[in-house]
């Protein structure tokens, strides 16, 4: 079986695929509307978000501390970020003309619109809070004002213009299912020795 169904379209995961995305981040076909605005398209690399924003001067060390907190939180409770439907996160800090910027890149199986309120709730309730509090212009009332949080993220999203997938459109759950199946087969073969 070499096809996977995603959003009603059959995709062949054995065929690597690339997608060029026009300026603005949306494809020419009709843009799908989400609750908080237009949804950026699903690509061979699934959904993604790339946020670039200036950090509040002097807060650089907070970002490194926050990364450690996330590491500890996930170690203590491995499913803490499950609601985000993530594949990968990559965060960077970099300087432009003496000012420090934060770049958040995440690869998700769902568009940003769907579960962001859940993410806000989890970050607010778990005490993890969010590293975004150290970005200029981030709404101070984010814990009680999910629409303001979402607006900030949308305003600072820099859509990509090329995305590539070696195994396109495959979800994290499908990958985990396949690996579980492989493990089950190995176990079965061991039992038959």
């Amino acid at each position: 079986m070499s096809s996977t169904t995603s959003g009603g379209n059959k995709h062949d995961w054995t065929k690597p695929a690339a997608m060029a995305i026009p300026k603005g981040g949306e494809l020419k076909e009709k843009v799908e509307q989400g609750r908080y605005g237009p949804i950026f398209p699903k690509t061979p690399a699934c959904y993604g978000f790339s946020i670039i924003a200036k950090i509040i001067p002097g807060r650089e060390s907070v970002f490194y501390e926050y990364a450690k907190n996330i590491e500890k939180a996930v170690a203590a409770q491995p499913d803490i970020l499950a609601v985000l439907k993530l594949h990968y996160l990559r965060w960077n800090l970099f300087d432009i003309k003496g000012e420090t910027y934060f770049q958040y890149m995440g690869i998700f199986d769902t568009d940003f619109d769907k579960y962001t309120e859940d993410a806000v709730a989890i970050f607010a309730a778990s005490g993890l809070n969010t590293v975004f509090e150290n970005l200029e212009g981030f709404p101070k009332d984010w814990k009680t004002n999910a629409p303001a949080f979402i607006k900030f993220v949308r305003d600072h999203h820099r859509p990509s213009f090329l995305e590539y997938g070696e195994y396109p459109y495959v979800s994290a759950d499908e990958i985990k299912k396949a690996l579980k199946l492989k493990a089950a087969f190995s176990n079965m073969l061991d039992q038959m020795q």
Partner: protein, 441 residues
């Protein structure tokens, strides 16, 4: 402490109505709207009014407004701007995101519901036909006396026989799983979870996250109010019964298919607790009929398919943040009953219901956009809610089964949205405030 005397009764209780009528109104002038409102608000019962047992009470009145309706009553622009964006835009503008496309599109809606001149709804619930006629006559007389009130349309409600318990035209028992609000004397049935903070449903109270925030202003207008999403959903009974016959050889198999689509047997018995055969006694027992979960009791969906209606609309322990997604459902059926052995007669029949919640975008729109219409909900790939989702004949419904699942392709649409609107349901004091606003235009 809930201010029961200031909360419209529909928010907290279900009245014993077997019939009723919705009337959809437009105010041609601010002054006319206010005259009408100041009189009708005397008839609107609070939760406290309805709580006192009174067998003579056979008629109940609820009033709510669209954003355009609040403007038509003279609410100033500064105040109008404090209402949430989705309510300001209205259901028509949100159609695509809600899945209201194709035959469900607002262009096809009836009764003037898609019109910006829809300003208000009056819900006249009645215990019997005579009581309904009395309410309808009185309201008609009253509107004739007011100037500048236009009735855009009305819809007569009618319970579906047999009247042993509430059910829809497809035969599914309704009203089995409703959230309980903290501060009421209602006790949650086993499996229903603890009572929820009132702010999830009533504006001005703490919600599941904390103190109230971002409420519409002024406070007198929003306090003890709520938002209501109205949906008029036509049920294609003939098509539904044909589908059951097509996929089930025997009446038992047909019942099982019906149960798989819903997640409960048509009697209301939960499939998780009775996966192989119906159990009407279980269905009728409130101590048992909601006492189940999915994550531990049915993780693969062998009893309740992952894409079934009930599992989508209330994923229970398989969703995070569930307490912030709950909704209160009120409403009724309309249209003539189609007897079990009768052929489809083409008459319109269905459900005309309200989803009541503090945040339309977080509660109602999330349920509609993600739970009902996300084709990839629970990694299902190519499915939408089989009962209320936007079905265009290209989607599937998968029924997990050992050794291999049953996959139904080309699922037809059993329902069509015939109308809808977002309403603000003010508290009793707010109704009076709206009726006496200064600065009539």
């Amino acid at each position: 402490m809930l201010e029961l005397d200031d909360i419209q009764h529909i928010l907290l209780m279900r009245v014993p109505a077997l019939t009723g009528r919705y009337e959809f109104l437009s105010f041609r002038s601010t002054a006319g709207g206010r005259v009408w409102l100041s009189a009708i608000s005397e008839k609107v019962q609070s939760a406290a009014d309805v709580r006192a047992p009174d067998e003579k009470q056979k008629r109940w009145v609820t009033v709510a407004f669209t954003w355009n309706g609040l403007r038509a009553l003279g609410v100033d622009e500064a105040s109008l701007a404090t209402f949430p964006e989705e309510f300001r835009q209205g259901m028509v503008a949100r159609a695509e995101m809600l899945g209201d496309t194709g035959p469900n599109h607002p262009d096809n809606w009836v009764g003037g519901l898609a019109s910006p001149s829809l300003h208000a709804i009056v819900i006249l619930f009645a215990a019997d036909e005579a009581a309904r006629e009395q309410s309808v006559m009185e309201h008609k007389k009253f509107i004739a006396q007011c100037k500048d009130i236009e009735v855009l349309s009305s819809l007569d409600l009618q319970a579906v026989p047999p009247f042993i318990y509430a059910h829809d035209h497809f035969g599914y028992r309704d009203r089995l799983s409703q959230p309980v609000i903290e501060g009421t004397d209602e006790v949650p049935t086993p499996g229903s979870g603890p009572p929820l903070k009132p702010g999830e449903f009533i504006l001005g109270y703490p919600d599941e996250f904390g103190p109230p925030a971002n409420l519409p202003q002024p406070e007198i207008l929003s306090r003890n109010g709520s938002f209501m999403a109205y949906r008029r959903l036509q049920e294609h009974v003939g098509k539904f019964r044909d589908f059951l016959r097509q996929h089930g050889q025997t009446p038992e198999e047909q019942e099982l298919i019906a149960a798989k689509l819903m997640g409960r047997w048509r009697s209301g018995a939960p499939l998780v607790l009775s996966p192989d055969k119906d159990d009407p006694q279980l269905a009728a027992d409130p101590q048992r009929n909601n006492n189940f979960n999915y994550k531990e009791m049915d993780p693969q969906g062998y009893a309740v398919p992952l894409g079934s209606h009930a599992r989508r609309m209330n994923p229970r322990d398989t969703a995070v943040n569930m307490n912030r997604r709950r909704m209160i459902r009120r409403g009724a059926t309309y249209g003539p009953y189609l007897p079990e052995d009768a052929a489809e007669d083409g008459a319109e029949r269905g459900i005309a219901a309200f989803v009541i919640c503090a945040s339309l975008i977080r509660q109602f729109e999330f349920a509609q956009n993600v739970w009902a219409n996300d084709r990839n909900f629970h990694e299902l790939g190519n499915e939408r809610d089989p009962v209320i989702g936007n079905q265009d004949g290209t989607l599937e419904f998968k029924i997990p089964k050992r050794p291999i699942r049953k996959k139904i392709t080309g699922l037809p649409a059993f329902t069509t949205v015939r109308g809808g609107a977002y309403f603000f349901l003010p508290g009793i004091k707010a109704l009076r405030y709206l009726a006496t606003l200064d600065g009539a235009r």
